[in-house]
């Protein structure tokens, strides 16, 4: 049995904060990815329209549309590249968030098993999960 005076259970709060911060970062990256994707869908629509228009126009007007197609294609490629970067960052952050979650749970278990004082804000997480049997739910 370890000496309780050697431990500082409030460190659990810092670990939970770190876990939550990383989870929030994953969510933010996920939203950023969705925004980029939405933007790219919009650019893709405009690019298809411009290409269709280009097929029907020649001369000066055709040149202008051609420039527009090039510009849109550039935007499309840039967005694709950004999406790949965000996705890679999201994967890395998600892995870190998972590790932070695992470490937090391990520390919470250690604190609970050794009778350390759990910070009130984390008391609910320290409670063992109980599930009502299905029959109890069906019986209402």
């Amino acid at each position: 049995m370890p000496d309780p005076s050697e431990f500082d259970p409030t460190r659990l709060t810092a670990l939970a904060r770190s876990r939550d911060r990383q989870k929030a970062q994953v969510r933010a990256l996920s939203e950023r990815y969705a925004d980029l994707r939405e933007h790219r869908v919009d650019i893709d629509k405009r690019l298809r329209l411009a290409r269709a228009e280009l097929a029907n126009h020649h001369g000066r007007h055709g040149f202008e549309i051609e420039q527009q197609v090039k510009q849109l294609q550039g935007q499309y490629d840039a967005l694709t590249s950004q999406m790949a970067e965000v996705l890679a960052e999201q994967d890395a952050t998600a892995a870190e968030a998972t590790e932070a979650g695992q470490l937090f749970r391990a520390c919470l278990s250690f604190a609970t098993e050794n009778g350390l004082m759990i910070p009130p804000a984390l008391a609910a997480e320290a409670q063992p999960k109980t599930f009502a049997p299905l029959s109890a739910q069906a019986g209402g």
Partner: protein, 196 residues
């Protein structure tokens, strides 16, 4: 090595990048220590210790072999054609006899009949197997693993100290998922003591 890392960490209190480098060094040290412990666990026994195990096994194998031959049949007047028989039995429900006990009995008899020769061959084989490798007796191995384990624990404590130092400086660091909860939850004072 750990003392040097600690000095490196202390000396770099004002420089975040150097502290991160120090943390990387500590983590390299931890990985090295874990590998060292694994290597110690797998290191072979000295030939003499292995031969002691052989002797122990050979004693048992020879005894079991003789016991399995039912020597008492030879003095039983009710057996007309008394003789020694290898233990080959067919168990109920099994289509073929179980030859394993008979094979073990034969091996035991070989040990009994020519143990010194077999021991010499085994000794030569073992000497070849451990040639150029560091060997450890059980006692030495336990002592070395305990020593390396102590150093590993110091390095792990140092890693946690480095993480806290960086966090205090406002730098976000990721702890390993398999970090020891006991160290992560320690007070700074107890952690410093654990780090040596």
């Amino acid at each position: 090595m750990l003392k040097n890392l600690m000095k490196s960490l202390t000396a770099s209190r004002s420089a975040t990048s150097e502290s991160l480098d120090a943390l990387d060094l500590i983590r390299e040290g931890i990985a090295g220590k874990v590998a060292e412990i694994e290597q110690l666990r797998r290191a072979p026994l000295p030939v003499q210790d292995a031969l002691s195990r052989f002797d122990l096994w050979a004693d048992g194998a020879a005894t079991r072999a003789i016991d399995s031959l039912s020597v008492d049949r030879l003095i039983d007047p009710s057996f007309q054609a008394a003789g020694l028989r290898l233990p080959v039995v067919t168990l109920p429900g099994q289509p073929v006899p179980n030859a394993q006990p008979a094979a073990e009995a034969l091996l035991g008899l070989i040990v009994l009949a020519c143990r010194p020769q077999l021991r010499k061959v085994v000794e030569g084989q073992l000497s070849d197997l451990v040639h150029g490798r560091e060997t450890f007796s059980d006692k030495d191995r336990a002592a070395r693993i305990a020593e390396a384990g102590k150093e590993l624990r110091q390095a792990l404590a140092l890693e946690e100290l480095a993480c806290r130092h960086l966090e205090d400086a406002g730098v976000s660091v990721s702890r390993r998922a398999d970090a020891q909860p006991e160290l992560v939850l320690m007070t700074d004072a107890a952690l410093t003591k654990s780090a040596g």
